[in-house]
Symmetry: C2
Subunit: 731 residues, 2 copies
């Protein structure tokens, strides 16, 4: 398998590892060290001296070898040792039960999740969770093919504004669109083998045109995916409700329900979700082919003489702008063509070959269906009507009665609902790539129980559901919007390929460059026409949202880069002198200190003397470091009383009482610790607090939870380590 270095991260300082490819792997959450950091690690290790030889471990950490009988435990089951198997010395492997949470509520939740989404899949199964071509085709093409259900109509609806005479223009326009489809299809076919591990617009544009271009393409695609979900589901739901008007009041509920079902299906994993969607896509294609065959057979019967369309008065002149708008409206039939290129790693090996074949089939089917439909509509002289879709008119004309019409309409509604599923495949994968480059939150790297990108799936479902609810399910008006995002991505991707061929100059690069340049130019023209022609209709939203998303992605990347730099390993400074003395507080005091350089002072805040606080005190003293107890008293009398109790206990440790006349505890303690550090900045203060763990969560309201507030306050202090000593009580 050819692994090639790709990814926009190449120019970023935080991406130091050259060989991770675009494979989807659970290890993406743990990027390996770069060569410089590795060298620094060795230098640090050389200077490590343990302050005194620690005793041997009191317990064998490879638990498997010491299979004692099951011990009763509070957290999990009776035999916790069976939760791990010994792989090799120093390596255990967790078994399924080791994933169950400790609390009863957590375990119930886990059982529910398992019932809904299935048992967890092992990381080693990641390579098998791939799609056969016959399964991949319906999954990835539902978005593209479903566009045929509204694309031709959208084009004719613009043309008819110039009167029924202008409808004749649909044939040349369709011819141009078919050229565009083939050009873009060929363009993407070239991209697939060039980027065998994922050839999404984000990666191709970012790789060849720079990070911002890649992020712009990604932002366009992200908008497209979210809108695809809400728009397709709105169209599908309205197809249902126009068939059953009584269901209309439940539009929003139905849509959200469908989104939830799609989410659940995808959380179960790719292959399972795919299987659900195989039949409807093929059914839709079969229904449309039947319409075409029967329709053309009848037209052949009357010698292909077109029926003249009913006269419609012109409301606008037939200018260039109208034609261009009609063209860009028809171009929405192409949305979804990029699905394959993003999903290459989900194919079975060899991924790129299977993906390219699938893409070829998809474009072929698109061209046949689109051109066939436009031609048949022209032959039958159909005109867009407000009460019925043009596809429905064609269906009624072809199959005036009988189950075929119902089948056509039902499969149209179904494929619109399922088109949304393509977005569920691609959106999380795009976020994964972005997250790996540090352009999206890192949690999108996480592979869930079922090897699906749970966080990305949930994010998409929430965004789409919010838009769906915000528009009350009437999101069909958003259809023109999302063409802009798609063609933005198309244009950047193919322009990126032009640069790619210029750089690599493989065999036949000139031919390929020209092909991609044609695709980029055509897509760019459609983009321009769509953005300008539909600016007032809502395209301005995209024009605002894309730069905003790019800006956010840049800010996220800056945060991760700076954080990485701040946490990167540097070789220790020369010389063996300990870093004592008043060094500046803040970052440098918390560097990768060596154990022999850590100077301890243990501070134990004591509110009262009871089992919990004495246990914290005993724990602190057992560490054998200098230890100081601190008591905050609201008034002198209380301080005296506490000191008297302290003497009764034996005065084993130094006690400092702080009278806080204004009765606050957190502030004075934090300031006191800060003052201690200011006196000796090289000290590491360890604050040891007892934490009474209550059995019932609702009992927490009865306690002030001072240790939580103290922890929050101390978080801001450099060089202060906070330790919680839990004391579990039955109450």
């Amino acid at each position: 398998m050819k692994v090639r270095r790709v990814g926009t991260g190449a120019k970023q300082p935080s991406d130091a590892e050259p060989d991770r490819g675009t494979l989807v792997t659970p290890s993406a959450e743990f990027p390996p060290l770069g060569p410089e950091e590795r060298a620094a690690l060795g230098r640090i290790g050389e200077r490590w001296r343990l302050p005194r030889r620690p005793e041997e471990l009191p317990v064998d950490p490879a638990l498997g070898r010491r299979r004692a009988g099951p011990a009763p435990s509070r957290f999990g089951r009776l035999a916790p040792i069976d939760m791990f198997t010994v792989e090799e010395p120093g390596e255990l492997c967790a078994t399924g039960p080791a994933h169950e949470p400790g609390s009863r509520a957590g375990r119930a939740l886990t059982r529910l999740r398992r019932a809904l989404f299935g048992p967890p899949l092992s990381s080693s199964a990641v390579v098998y969770e791939r799609m056969r071509k016959l399964v991949a085709l319906p999954i990835l093409s539902s978005d593209l093919l479903s566009s045929v259900a509204y694309g031709p109509e959208a084009m004719l609806a613009v043309l008819v504004l110039a009167g029924s005479g202008a409808l004749g223009l649909s044939l040349p326009l369709a011819a141009v669109l078919v050229v565009l489809m083939i050009a873009v299809g060929l363009s993407y076919r070239q991209t697939v083998p060039a980027y065998p591990h994922g050839a999404g617009s984000y990666i191709v544009a970012g790789d060849n045109l720079g990070t911002t271009a890649g992020l712009t393409a990604a932002a366009g695609l992200m908008l497209d995916y979210v809108l695809t979900v809400s728009v397709s589901i709105a169209a599908g739901v309205s197809a249902i409700t126009s068939a059953m008007p009584r269901a209309a009041p439940a539009t929003v509920l139905l849509g959200v329900l469908v989104i939830a079902v799609l989410l659940a299906g995808n959380l179960r994993g790719v292959r399972t979700a795919g299987n659900i969607f195989v039949l409807p896509t093929y059914a839709f294609v079969a229904a449309l082919l039947a319409v075409l065959v029967v329709g053309y057979a009848r037209a052949a019967g009357r010698g292909f003489v077109p029926v003249p369309p009913p006269p419609v008065p012109a409301t606008q002149g037939l200018g260039l702008l109208l034609v261009l708008r009609a063209f860009s409206s028809g171009a929405v039939s192409m949305t979804g063509i990029e699905a394959v290129s993003n999903a290459i790693p989900a194919f079975r090996p060899r991924e790129w070959r299977n993906a390219r074949t699938t893409l070829g089939w998809m474009v072929g089917m698109l061209v046949v269906l689109f051109a066939g439909l436009i031609g048949l509509i022209h032959l039958n002289g159909l005109v867009p009507r407000s009460d019925q879709t043009i596809l429905s008119q064609l269906g009624r004309l072809t199959f005036p009665t009988g189950p075929w019409y119902v089948f056509l309409q039902a499969s149209t509604a179904l494929i619109l609902l399922l088109a949304a599923n393509t977005a569920f495949n691609d959106f999380p994968r795009l976020l994964f790539f972005m997250a790996r480059n540090g352009h999206a939150p890192r949690r999108f790297l996480h592979l869930g129980d079922r090897l699906s990108f749970n966080n990305g799936l949930v994010a998409l479902a929430i965004a789409a559901a919010l838009i769906f609810v915000a528009f009350g399910g009437h999101t069909v008006s958003l259809i023109p919007l999302y063409a802009v995002g798609v063609f933005l991505a198309f244009t950047l991707s193919q322009a990126g390929m032009v640069v790619h061929w210029r750089r690599h100059r493989d065999r036949g690069w000139r031919r390929r460059l020209v092909l991609n340049a044609v695709g980029a130019t055509l897509s760019g023209m459609v983009l321009l026409v769509a953005a300008v022609g539909k600016f007032a209709e809502g395209a301005w939203l995209v024009v605002v949202a894309v730069p905003l998303l790019v800006l956010i992605a840049h800010r996220i990347h800056r945060h991760y880069t700076r954080l990485h730099q701040a946490l990167a390993l540097h070789p220790p400074p020369g010389g063996t002198a300990p870093s004592a003395g008043p060094s500046a507080p803040g970052g440098s005091a918390e560097g990768e200190e060596l154990p022999q350089e850590v100077r301890h002072l243990v501070v134990v805040p004591m509110a009262r003397l009871n089992r919990a606080s004495l246990r914290a005190l005993a724990y602190a003293a057992s560490l054998g470091q200098p230890t100081l107890a601190v008591h905050i008293a609201p008034e002198d009398a209380e301080a005296d009383r506490f000191r008297e109790q302290w003497r009764a206990w034996g005065d084993h440790l130094r006690l400092e009482t702080i009278v806080s006349p204004y009765r606050a505890v957190i502030g004075p303690l934090a300031h006191y610790l800060e003052a201690l550090r200011a006196a000796r900045p090289e000290l590491t203060l360890t604050v040891i607090m007892p934490e009474v763990v209550l059995r019932h969560r609702w009992h927490r309201v009865l306690h002030s939870r001072a240790e939580h507030r103290l922890r929050a306050a101390l978080r801001a202090l450099p060089g202060v380590v906070v330790t919680s000593v839990p004391v579990h009580v039955a109450e």
Copy 2:
């Protein structure tokens, strides 16, 4: 000053200290140890052995002596040492700046709070924050005297149901009520010196009749206080809106605003709040006295011949039940009479004498105003009308025109608004007493910045505002409700005094017993009549709520008692053998261990190798205890890679990798720690995690915050100590 042992806690096992009295003191949050626990403390101390002699403290904890120059610090100011003054060896005193929080937002909040509520008051100021009698009288009597504004009317409104002829019964009923007022007043006068530090019904009933009786009285009073606030404010607001109908739509907003203003005033502290309320109360009394003087002077002019009332047809027969209901309605004039007895500690010394004098004045004023009004109403033949209050009728009759009528109405509206303030004085104090006995959440013990019970004040304001909003400001219908709660408390308090005299048999105890018995009997009758007669009108709510509150208080007490028992100090078991061996996990493994018995194993979960995790590792190693590093890997390849990096570092510490094939981190780690503990139950595991502290809070969404989730999961495990090593980054 006579300090007497009171409080229902006497019978509770958790209250072991015999001498804390009912003084309000900030030390109430820190109850001293009982004798048994003290003895156990000494025994534990005798057996303490520090594992090795800790070095001298590396820094002098009494910071004041070492006034080094100001050191730059991140948390507070430049010179943190000035935040403490040295009181005596081992005792510091925090100054005002030491209370400021560290974050910028926190400091801004503090400044806002200071501007609203004034600078903090020192604990030593608690004794000076007392009320003079002339200030206490209006503060504590506004509730009682404001009842005169609706009490007579409530009685007449019931009587008139039996026709205007029945109105004549008002004079004998008023006479009985006056007797009741004097009897209850004398009863409470006797209580004040017997309980010089707070003679609330809760304490008196609990002390003499048992905890449940005390809690029942407290529940009745709590309901009364909350209802007083919402009802008085509703009545006051409706007085305003009937004068200015245009303000009617803002009723709810106005009421909530008034509650907020009352809350703010009380958060500023008792005396300041009192000063606001002096004038209106005296104005109300002056206005009513003017009405009485002018009215009786005119009546004297016509020889005290009563004007016959206009004929009103009877709708009900004049039965005993009607008379009793009229009586209990008239009795709402007495609500608020108990205010003084709860507030004794807020008086200037000698508190009880000043309180008793104030109570005498209040009852005298109540009797004069109540009897005078009933008499004048009778003389003028007034009948309750739906469009105008009877007080307003009387005002118009006495001062047909001119500013006096406006003055009367305005001061009535104002005193109704301010009556709510009495509840703001007493409700938090009642909760303080309950919390000290463990019958209410302990946070009600806390004295705020301004020595006011902030938590109780806020709780009252929220409860009253919720009721006010829930009823849309139309809470006048709740007036009948709250008589039930008040008379419940009256009856129990006076019955408690009967028991008190029987037990103590001081000089003249028989006379006092009879007086209290009469008061208790009369109050009990009113309670019975009110509860039965108004059951359907809403009294059932009180009948449900009181037992519920008592139950909750008992459950809270049980929780605190059990927790106290679980955390109480016990002498260590005999012998000096360490408590090793497989002891049962849970409570006993976390007893007040001795330092020499603690066996350590330090576990450092390592996700990746960077500055933060290496610092945590260095910190762990510097403790000199057996240390184990653990890495959770999502797949074998990642585990191998991590081990290889570990070797590059130098392999200074034992590393255990756990492959988690289902990619969870928290669960396997928690189960692994549990398995370690199961193998050696006497081990104390210390989990040391790095915690990267980000500067901007919103950056947290970019991180998985695994250490927080791990901390939550580990909280359930016994014997696992969690330590956070913070690493501050500039980003």
